[in-house]
Amino acid sequence: MHPVLNRLVQAVIVFFGTSLLVFLAVFALPGDPLGTLAGDAQLTDTVRRNLEERYHLNEPVLAQYGHYLADLFRGDFGVTISGESVGNILANAWPITAQLALTAWIIELVIGIGLGALAALKPGGAFDRFATSTTILLLAVPTFVLAFFAQQVFGLRLGWFPVAGAAAGWPVAFLLPAACIAALGIGPIARLTRTSMLQTITADYVRTARSRGITPWQLHTRHVLRNAIMPVVTYLGLDLGALLGGAVLVEGIFNLPGIGRALFTAINTQQGSVVVGIVTAGVFVVLIANLLVDLLHRALDPRIGKETSNA
């Protein structure tokens, strides 16, 4: 089967699986979605009944899931219990999270590969040891601790970045939260790059290239790094899920109105349709990212496509 088609089939299976799981999970939460809507108001029985009918809350969970799917196939993401269009929420929130994740990705990539490549130049040297300890430190600090710390120091104390909200726009508003999410990815990327470069450096073709007398700069960028970067590309695809997970936490702390915050609010207020909408959309993004990574792999290493088609 063509790899793109293969991925699409996977996507459909994953979509049904995750959306049903998430739907059941939200349904299993204790409490009453109408209670959140009412706040300190007292709902009359009539209002309660009408709202339950409108949102199918009085039906069994599988029937509710059926309604949800039926709406979805009509291109309707449904509405929240307070009447907001879920499609609207997603349309407003995704760009924010996309900017956040992209910024985090760039930070990971630049700093991670940079650290790893420099460390690999002189294994065991001072910089290598420094880079290793730095990446361990970054991995050891929980994201929310880092986020509060960064917010206090770089946002409040030094005033370099806004501490809350996306009003300042890209990239200013996103640098600090993105760096906090990226901190988790920098370590693995630096390690991967370093190890992979060290392996590549001893490869035959590198020796050949060196014997032909090209400059060390050309050797490292054109021959070593390009080939060494393959595992890193794979990692970046997988890492998108972690970035989205980090976004849930960091968006809350930095008050960014992205999907992480929307998801947090939706879970808190038991809005199944929003939760499922966000999670399935997230699954699709991860699947698409993995597909892109596959294609990128092929572009970087022509051997891969051949192997698959022979198999």
Partner: protein, 537 residues
């Protein structure tokens, strides 16, 4: 965080923030006027949390009320000093029997789209609020108006489309007939859900929900579809006292703590403080912390009076007398609260400073004697607190004081906030519960009706006393504030005699304001009042 990882970011950041600052400077207020002068064009930013709806009849909670209060004006508002109602859009409200209310509307009020505010606009709003097809959350607030059961029957199909008790006599005259007399009806008229609606609200409900058209001092600039700010500007044709600033932008935060961090960064003018942040804010900004002048929150313990032991008023009184409220306030609440002395809330007209007496006074020896004489309750006892409210700290203290006084085991349990009321009213939580409630409108009925009448919607102690119910009915039928308050006082005395729940303390809402908005004074009664804030540069 280490140097290597931050340095590239700062260099970028430095360049970018300079650029951003230059860009921002272009769109903020015009060139600085001399210090201390008010800028009537300047916009106030106020931190809130996401409102569920901006439609007056379909929204609830402090933050929605704040926004709706800025966009809409009702027939009356509350005197910021005394809490008594005073006419706003109404020019007179009269009744002979507390049942039929003749309301005259002042001419000259308009909605933000130019439609006049008349008797019909109020009738329209109230009919929309009770329409079962709308299923708006505040429907219950209109249930005492005649014809409610025909429009929104508890069972079966509606037999009428509009409230028979609301009749539009002419352009500016409205008559409201209630099912039962309610002398406190004018207090209800000041609540956001009694605000008028323009015809446009019914013609295009969808755009109205995103961009409500009110008659208040501020109008929406753009539709709000759940984004991180709600932008308003001063409505030039506003019929009330003209705002002295250019508008209010409400910034939506996930919590008061995030809003406070943003305040510290200078990005927002007025935020509500969580109690955990108050000490720090007071130390850092001693001149800028603002409290409502009158306490508008109360904490109390509901009691499972349907259980043996708790059904004995002497046991309940002993439990109350065994709590050292002063000690808890000074050691756990940073001295921010005041011992409760009456069964309503200080913002109520008629709240008494000395009514509770010995029942609310710490006296462990007398408490123990009373407890023993009444036979006590076989332990272990439980105090239930609601997760995420911070109340477990003092619930624990109360448990310890009870354990010490009565020489029994007392544990603290937790209940999730969304299950609290269903658990209490369903008799699933068989213990005292640490509760908190804000005042909604400054009448004693606001607390007494829902919390203690036998049909009350949040009567967590299951207090049922026909004598008490009769006094509330008498007060509802009586004319003259003095007579009404006297009857309410008698009703509250019954609650004190019976220790219907355990009163703890009351406390004010606390805010912190920016230098430029330092003229803002919180209003304990009216929400969303920002018109008088002169913004200085």
């Amino acid at each position: 965080m280490t140097r290597t990882t931050t340095r590239p970011r700062w260099l970028i950041a430095l360049a970018l923030t300079t650029a951003a600052a230059a860009a921002l400077a272009g769109c903020t207020t015009p060139a600085a006027s001399s210090p201390g002068t008010a800028d009537t064009e300047a916009v106030l930013t106020v931190g809130i949390q996401k409102p569920t709806s901006l439609i007056p009849g379909n929204s609830s909670g402090l933050f929605a009320n704040t926004v709706v209060g800025a966009l809409f004006d009702g027939l009356v508002d509350y005197d910021p000093a005394t809490g008594e109602t005073r006419n706003l859009v109404a020019s007179s409200i009269e009744t002979d029997d507390q049942r039929v209310w003749k309301i005259e509307i002042a001419p000259g009020w308009t909605f933000h789209n130019g439609e006049p505010v008349d008797a019909a606009s109020f009738a329209r709003a109230w009919n929309a609020a009770v329409d079962p097809d709308n299923a708006w959350v505040q429907s219950d607030q209109f249930s005492n108006i005649e014809g409610y059961d025909e429009v929104a029957p508890a069972e079966g199909a509606p037999t009428a489309e509009t409230l028979s008790g609301v009749s539009v006599d002419d352009e500016l005259h409205l008559t409201v007939t209630l099912k039962k007399p309610n002398s406190q009806f004018p207090y209800l008229l000041g609540r956001q859900y009694y605000s008028p609606l323009p015809q446009a609200a019914l013609d295009d409900p969808e755009s109205f929900a995103a961009k409500p058209i009110g008659n208040g001092p501020y109008e929406m600039v753009e539709p709000w579809t759940g984004g991180d700010q709600i932008v308003t500007q001063t409505y030039p044709e506003y019929a009330g006292e003209a705002p002295v600033n250019g508008g209010v932008t409400f910034r939506v935060y996930t919590g008061n703590d995030v809003a406070y961090t943003d305040y510290q960064a200078g990005a927002v003018d007025i935020v509500t403080l969580n109690s955990a942040d108050i000490p720090e804010a007071e130390a850092a900004y001693p001149e800028l912390v603002r409290r409502s002048a009158v306490d508008d929150w109360r904490n109390y313990l509901s009691l499972p009076t349907y259980l043996p032991g708790y059904d004995n008023p002497d046991i309940r009184k002993a439990l109350s007398m065994a709590i050292d409220r002063d000690a808890i306030i000074s050691s756990l609440l940073d001295g921010q609260a005041h011992v409760a002395t009456d069964y309503d809330i200080p913002i109520s007209v008629g709240y008494r400073d000395d009514a509770c007496g010995e029942s609310c006074t710490y006296d462990p020896a007398a408490a123990k004697a009373l407890w023993d004489a009444a036979g006590g309750i076989a332990g272990p006892l439980t105090v239930t607190s609601v997760t995420g409210t911070g109340r477990e700290i003092w619930a624990e203290a109360i448990a310890n004081q009870w354990a010490k006084t009565f020489d029994t085991e007392v544990t603290v349990a937790q209940v999730a906030s969304e299950n609290t009321w269903s658990g209490i009213l369903g008799k699933e939580i068989e213990s005292p519960v640490a509760l908190g409630a804000p005042g909604n409108y400054p009448s004693p009925l606001d607390t007494l009706g829902p919390s203690y009448s036998s049909t009350g919607s949040v009567n967590g102690s299951f207090y049922a006393n026909p004598e008490f119910d009769a006094l509330l009915a008498d007060a509802a039928a009586a004319s003259g504030t003095e007579t009404q308050m006297d009857l309410y006082a008698q009703a509250k005395d019954l609650l004190i005699r019976d220790t219907a729940s355990i009163l703890l303390w009351t406390y004010p809402s606390t805010y912190v304001v920016s230098e430029r908005a330092s003229s803002w004074v919180p209003d304990s009664f009216n929400k969303g009042q920002f018109g008088s804030v002169a913004i200085t540069q």
